[in-house]
């Protein structure tokens, strides 16, 4: 499939299933079953798995349009996570469970317990939890689950956790890369929405988009949206580079703070209401910033990598370590 064909297919898929009403119903504690069934039918679930393993053998770069589209619609389910998890599980020669698989951001051993922080885990059936230099696949049914209340992540604990090992799989980094891509998509949607509003809303007898101060804010927003898209492109092109993932999470997270602020500033009071869909996007972005390590976490890791490297210049570091 070509890039634009994937984009079109993904956009149609999300528009059909991830409606504002569906997102609201999930937030109110509804079941994800119907929404998930629609997404699962799309055939994207095994897109990243190799052809030998029954997948489509696509790359992360090929799949970026799908994540962007999910973000544009504020999808709260771990669709990208499930796709990445299924590919990793298949590559390890294991069988993936049916249904939603979440990626844990952390896994901590405490005596006989394994405790994990799992973004969107409340919807999942399986979880890949970081453990040693890989991950283990665990079922949610055997865990105690505590939802955080703000929807960012839930805390899961397994007693005597045991499951298939997926060697070499970095759940935190994969989660960060997916989250950054979906946030970049959500920011694109915010820009489109805000632009439309600036053309529709009138004050002082003209559209507010005709005021230079508003125009300049929307221009900055556009710059940041483009910068975020570029960052997730770089990360998708080099999924093996932890530095590229770090760079994307930092750039997207910092841009997100400004993009959300501008979107709300331009919308005025109406943007603060429950009825407007804008907040579904702000909400998706808020969670994204808090999941899989904040800008600060990734900037520190990236900074340590720069300072420990032998590269002569920062540009050399970025070229050699982030771009490949």
């Amino acid at each position: 499939m070509t890039d634009s064909l994937i984009t079109e297919t993904a956009d149609r898929l999300m528009a059909d299933h991830v409606t504002p009403a569906a997102v609201r119903a999930l937030a109110a504690g509804g079941s994800p079953a119907a929404l998930w069934a629609g997404l699962a039918e799309s055939g994207f679930l095994d897109a990243l798995a190799s052809e030998e393993a029954g997948g489509a053998g696509l790359t992360e770069m090929d799949m970026l349009p799908v994540l962007l589209a999910a973000g544009r619609h504020g999808l709260p389910l771990p669709f990208g996570a499930t796709i990445a998890a299924r590919a990793a599980i298949a590559a390890a020669g294991e069988t993936a469970p049916e249904g939603i698989i979440a990626l844990a951001a952390s896994g901590r051993r405490d005596g006989g317990n394994l405790i994990a922080q799992v973004p969107a885990g409340e919807h999942a059936e399986g979880v890949l939890v970081p453990d040693g230099d890989g991950a283990i696949l665990l079922s949610v049914a055997s865990a105690t689950v505590e939802t955080a209340g703000d929807g960012t992540a839930c805390r899961m604990a397994w007693n005597g956790a045991n499951g298939p090992r997926i060697a070499g799989f970095d759940a935190l980094a994969t989660g960060a890369r997916i989250e950054a891509a979906e946030m970049a998509g959500a920011m694109e949607a915010m820009q489109v929405t805000t632009l439309r509003y600036a053309n529709d809303r009138s004050q002082f007898g003209r559209a507010i988009g005709k005021f230079q101060a508003v125009q300049q804010q929307l221009s900055v927003m556009t710059e940041l949206v483009h910068g975020a898209r570029a960052a997730v492109h770089v990360a998708a092109a080099a999924p093996g580079s932890l530095d590229a993932t770090a760079a994307a999470k930092v750039t997207v997270g910092e841009a997100a703070a400004q993009v959300v602020a501008i979107a709300h500033a331009v919308h005025g009071a109406i943007g603060m209401t429950e009825e407007l869909d804008l907040h579904l996007l702000s909400e998706r972005i808020r969670r994204g910033r808090l999941r899989y390590g904040s800008e600060r976490h990734w900037a520190e890791r990236l900074g340590q990598a720069v300072l420990a490297s032998q590269e002569a210049t920062l540009l050399d570091f970025v070229r050699n370590r982030v771009f490949s």
């Binding site: 632009l195 988009g209 300049q216 221009s219 900055v220 770089v234 590229a244 720069v306 920062l314 570091f317």
Partner: protein
Amino acid sequence: MSSFAPLPYATIPAEDESLRAEVKAFLAEALAGMPAEKRARSWVGADPAFSRALAKRGWLGLSLPKRYGGAERGFFARFVIAEELLAAGAPVAAHWITDRQSGPLILRYGAEAQRQFYLPKICAGEIFFCIGMSEPNSGSDLASVRTRAERQPDGSFRLNGRKIWTSNAAVCDYMIALVRTSGVPEDRHKGLSQVIIPLKQEAITIRPIRDLAGDAHFAEVTFDDVILPADALIGEEGAGWEQVNAELAFERSGPERILSSMVLVDTWLAYLKSLPKLSTDDVILVGRLAAHLASLRALSLSVTASLAAGESPVVHAALLKDLGTTYEQMIPQAVAAAIAADPEGDPPGELMRTLAYTMGMSPSFSLRGGTREILRGMIARGIGLR
């Protein structure tokens, strides 16, 4: 979808990337022993001999065809060389504008005789060009230029007026100027043309202007009844506005709008690496600088690919430039705050002089090549707000 879609992701073709090692080796030798505060001046540092040394290696006129002495290698080859020159802080000012703008402009709009005359000399580093757009009363409002080139009965032009902020006018042989060939300033975009002006002549006065760091890289240029032959006109008479805008897409697209503070960054990194213990804040800042450099570089590569495809990505170039200069300007402020956070710290003099220079000059990053507000206005037009 976005109403103003991002450009596709682009990478540097392998044959252009392969230039890098040779450029690095050349620069390591050419710049050996040059202190950081001098290298920080990179694109205001004019050294014709250095530029000619680049020309000898075939590194000028990279995007120009072989029949005019160019390397016919396109925009990505130039991108690789530009990146290395700027990251190293090489004195690029003599040829910079010529190579980036004037050469491609002559190729695109020039008459065949003009191409044959100027382009080989440009590629050989024998002649250098400057840009005559701004005037004392025409900065952001470029369409209001008053410098006039009036047609004489014999087809020649009589030129009168004044240009200002002309980078490297004193070092250059020619200026490509935006002038009014008909009508009055109120006619705006109509009646503007571009002319090539040989600068070494009596009727032209070049007065270098000192900047706040004590350097004199830009200048005021006065034309007093300068007579230009008919073939001084480049492109079409009256098409100056369109041509100037195409030229500005070249000017705003390259890695130069990202890398102006890199010598400071690398000097600071070397200092950090020498410390026994690092503060977490500093490590975080280093990570942020690396992260943003990556996304800006990706944007710049996309714009380069668009130029290479023969497009004129004016709005994307404006967007990249504003985002890039924001980054360039953030650096000296953040590094200054980091260094001064420790009153007992003992940073080397070279680092402090480089910081002082970069801090002092950083406001110019968002002025040269079009101010921040003007660029944002162009983006606003691009997304359909005006």
